[in-house]
Symmetry: C2
Subunit: 365 residues, 2 copies
């Protein structure tokens, strides 16, 4: 049912990645468990993933991919409405290792299956090996009977791109030009690949993300499209905030950009946490060669921008921070037609990402 | 999406197991791989499973459950039309460890999830442990969003029962009364469980099956319903055939039986192989404590009865035996409205079963 297409490209076949705000048939997630990334044997993270799954399941179907070892526990912990399907992975970031689903606007749905190398491979990747993660996209395509384009040489994570569904891709140089991704391709060649596999015409480049050491600056902590011609971007007035400079630079750059349709972007500000979110309890994280060590006191990458848009809703991270309510009200103002739901996700930030990183939407064909 | 129902029974809720000849939405299989059961690293068996999957896929969708280790190989070997989904198992007998799907005739579909103990548990089971197999039914129910009745204490394998979908169950005493199944229940209590969970009224008991040492005499090597009021039964005139006595006894017993509707059964004869099917090449089977050893020269359980009925077709084992063509013509005569397809499956018989044992149909709701 699920073909691997290697002799064509999505753009040639009329397929494109729809915006996240387009209608969806459901969301995939992966159950966290590796004790060398998540503190306390991943139990607090599992509780947070359950809360995220429950929040999304109010709006649309959720499928949780779970290892055989954790199958029974995940099934027992998750709401009944969540479907649990076995899948071996290397960690829990389906945004980055899962497929990028594409549609053709005429009832067809396919997917791009990028090469995944754990955010930098042997250059500066976060763990080794990553072979199970690199098979996740294909497994989801099999599950959903989706034909896929396997971009064999080309490394990309879903968290490093946002699209408006109308020809524009937004990304960062810090990530896509990093030596751990596609060192043999220059910026122009990468633009060509993005356009061919996302069905786009124009690539908007921000310079930096906020986590050079983890994802090498994924866009999904910095900015995203909220509707055609409009983006949200992180913002703070606090010059001492660890993300102040990157936020300002992103905001200024976006404010000068036009999209594929020639529209000047309208940029909405989204606050950052008042205080940096600092990792606690890192001493319970297993110490394993090949995984980057985490230490208590490190700045966790806690961005309200890492929300997920679902049918009729937006699921927004909350960090037990003074600005939590402000972030919710700002997101609600951006999406007056959707119900905004906050979920406490410090534990997910401790592991290196948040709600957008741990979800992958299945757009409606 | 998939509830576990423990406070009711199928018969109370109006659910029953439909006959195999009722319409189906698809078939599940499990990829064989354990080298202590299948010769030559399971490679010949994998080829035979591919042929069976391809034959079924001509008629209806097939989902192959595969371990993570064999995922890529299975995907590469199987026809594109077959969906491949990860699932950890202990071996490849989804008839026995999978769910028994039930319908209510009003659009509803549920399942019975029996306890599985590898054909006899610690008494005379064929391998240990079997915990992965015992989770297969639940995993298939999750995949298909099917609510299931978990019969916690009650051990049953799908291969030990056949139903006519009109109130009758056919089974064997050799299996269901064996000390390795439900030693605390007497025949009457077992009848009550079968009727409650299969939505039946009458249990027809044959005495013996043909493989006392493997499945303890599963019915699906001996007889099956081919339509309401009619059964097929193995038959041979050769008194030296290893299954001569059991075949005669089954035929005679069935010829005297009436079903739940009071109909005297019409019994169709199905030949056995001319020559016993003897295991070859057992020296390449891994030797592992806890698995029953296999030896070259053993009689493999090769029965033409172990066919699978699918939408518009019947998939029938072929053993490279003089009676192969006769078996096909007899099955064709039983099912004039279906296309009969033979598949060479000696390798599957070497592992202890055949086409019916390695498949589980999903009836149409």
């Amino acid at each position: 049912m699920a073909k691997r297409i290697t002799d064509s490209t999505p753009i040639r076949d009329g397929y494109f990645m729809p915006a996240e705000f387009a209608p969806q048939d459901g969301v995939f997630m992966i159950w966290p468990e590796r004790p060398d990334n998540w503190r306390d044997g991943a139990k607090p993270a599992q509780a947070a993933f359950c809360a995220v799954a429950a929040a999304i399941a109010q709006f649309e179907p959720v499928t949780m991919l779970v290892s055989n070892a954790q199958f029974e526990n995940a099934r027992a912990r998750l709401p009944e409405a969540v479907r649990v399907v076995e899948c071996t992975t290397d960690d829990a970031w389906v945004r980055d290792c899962g497929p990028t689903f594409l549609i053709d606007g005429r009832g067809g749905r396919r997917a791009a299956d990028w090469r995944f190398n754990a955010w930098g491979g042997l250059y500066d990747g976060l763990y080794f090996p990553w072979a199970n993660d690199d098979r996740v996209a294909q497994k989801i395509c099999e599950l959903t009977n989706t034909d896929s384009y396997r971009t064999d040489g080309f490394v990309l994570e879903g968290g490093s791109i946002h699209v408006d569904g109308e020809g524009t891709v937004l990304t960062t140089e810090m990530c896509l030009l990093s030596p751990g991704r596609n060192p043999d391709l220059d910026k122009h060649a990468i633009e060509k690949m993005l356009c061919a596999y996302l069905g786009c015409e124009k690539v908007l480049w921000l310079k930096d993300g906020i986590d050079p050491d983890e994802t090498n600056g994924h866009i999904d902590d910095v900015a995203c499209f909220i509707r055609p011609g409009e983006v949200a971007c992180i913002w703070t007035d606090d010059k001492n905030h660890p993300f102040y400079e990157q936020a300002r630079a992103a905001y200024d750059a976006l404010s000068r950009m036009t999209d594929a349709k020639g529209r000047a972007l309208k940029v909405h500000k989204l606050c950052l946490t008042k205080k940096p979110c600092l990792l606690h309890g890192a001493e319970t994280i297993d110490r394993v060669a090949g995984s980057i060590p985490r230490e208590s006191g490190e700045v966790a990458i806690a961005s309200y921008m890492n929300f997920l848009i679902v049918n009729g809703g937006v699921i927004v991270p909350q960090y037990d921070d003074e600005n939590d309510a402000l972030a919710l009200s700002q997101v609600q103002a951006m999406f007056p037609e959707r119900r905004v739901v906050g979920v406490a996700t410090r534990e997910i930030a401790y592991g290196g990402g948040n709600i957008h990183c741990i979800t992958q939407q299945l757009p409606r064909a």
